[in-house]
Amino acid sequence: MRISHIELYSWKNFRKANVDVPERVFLVGPNASGKSNFLDALRFLRDLAARTGGLQRACAERGGVSKIRCLAARQDPDIGLTVELTNGGKTVWRYEIKFNQEIRGNRLPRLTREAVFKDEQLVLERPDEDDKRDPLRLTQTALEQINLNVGFRELAQAFERISYLHLVPQIIRAGGSPGNGEAAEVYGQNFLERLAKTNDKTRGARLRRIREALAIAVPQLKDLELTRDERGAPHLVGAYKHWRPKAAKQTEEQFSDGTLRLLGLLWSLQEGDGPLLLEEPELSLHSSIIRRLPELIHRLQRKRKRQVFISTHSMDLLSGSGIGAEEILMLIPSAEGTQVKLAASVAEIRALMENGMSAAEAVIPHTEPPLITQLELFE
């Protein structure tokens, strides 16, 4: 199951966005155009459905409703998300949520609409009679409640499988006690713990593939494996070849930023099966690797048929072959909020790419900040 359609209303940078999305999506746009915030809308759905999540927590983690609401929004105070999920080309599910916050009291986030459709048939629509009798119910979605989501548990589970990856080497190295905050999950604080918890056979198979890839990208590093120190904390250990006959042992604390990020990327691409959100996978990597990332990601995802969303600033990444204008979402900021446009919807870009120009050359110029050439005068 994959996400086929996304609508955002008053969501952070986006006053209104409405796009169809394919199996692989590249998000491009200038700094602060909302690439991460677009991905965050999908993470929000995951947070609603997650076992430890729900509307209140998902909003609180984002600093409250007023931090989520688009600054360009006018009268309508509601924030809204709508997604459609398809299974083999047919729309199976549609989920709509709108919310704002209580006007008085604790100003808790409060639903103004929640609706679920299966094959265009209405499964759930709120507020319903029960909600009218007990308005406090509107502080929770049906999605987050096991006894209310019986009729669409498949949808809740699909949201729960969305995963986000933005590994920060410094955080992986720092490690520390595994918590369950954002740093732990998405930035890699418990990355090593996650590795250690995977069963031996699976971990062995994944690490073997990572060793094969690293043998090409970082040939000095050999024999990568997971060990535990005397206190039981997991560490990645590799042999670093140098001029002495015996290679020196190194742990993740000595690995370079690029090695750690590549390692984390290769691991994550081998786990899970829901949509994967990758934030700037090009960071710290050599351009020869970046150019090959789109195909590498595709090859590692092929078996799992996992949908991938990739935010990027990289000319190298988008210069890879096989990237179509129908896979690229351009985020263009304006006074009315960021506009989201499929690159294939611009006739000029279509013509350039159909005649053999790479996505990098055809699309990136369209996403430059309008006054960028003034930067030359800055001193």
Partner: protein
């Protein structure tokens, strides 16, 4: 209503020159938008037929350097053997865009901090106007210009570390397009 037009050039300085020229000659009629900066003449040549295809949907102005080629008309024939789409204008700077900058010799001498006598009166005849510009900068009274525009001795770079910044300032503020 101004007509939107896309641009394609070899480098960032060419973009600035082209935007200033368009503003001067067609500021009321054209609205230059996206600029495809190609990082080199070969890439621009390679992509020109593609821009020509895209010109069906969007007018294009392309600015290229003639460099060592014979003359502008044969270059256009070479780059677009099937002819240019009516929506596409391919314009050629004889030898290099820098010769257009040298052509405003009063302002250029003032910007470079050299005597007007040193500037070529026929910049189109300069075999390498960029080199001519850099060599003039070496003789500048201003240390800033010497350091910024000319490369340090022994460098493999053909220009100084703030060549684009200094020339941008000139194109936007000093040069009479």
């Amino acid at each position: 209503m101004k007509r939107p037009v896309s641009l394609a050039v070899e480098g960032t300085l060419d973009e600035k020159v082209l935007r200033r020229l368009l503003d001067q000659v067609a500021g009321e009629r054209l609205e230059p938008g996206i600029c495809y900066v190609q990082n080199g003449r070969e890439r621009l040549k390679q992509n020109t037929p593609r821009f020509n295809q895209a010109a069906r949907f969007q007018p294009f102005v392309i600015l290229a350097d003639l460099e060592a080629d014979d003359c502008a008309p044969t270059l256009i024939e070479d780059w677009l053997p099937a002819g240019a789409h009516p929506n596409l204008a391919l314009r050629i700077a004889v030898r290099k865009v820098e010769s257009w900058l040298l052509a405003d010799w009063r302002a250029c001498a003032d910007f470079l901090g050299v005597s007007e006598r040193l500037l070529p009166r026929q910049p189109d005849n300069e075999p390498d106007p960029k080199l001519a510009l850099v060599n003039l900068a070496r003789r500048s009274r201003s240390r800033h210009i010497r350091d910024d525009v000319a490369p340090v001795a022994g460098s493999t770079s053909r220009v100084g570390r703030n060549y684009v910044g200094q020339l941008t300032r000139f194109i936007l503020q000093g040069w009479d397009a």
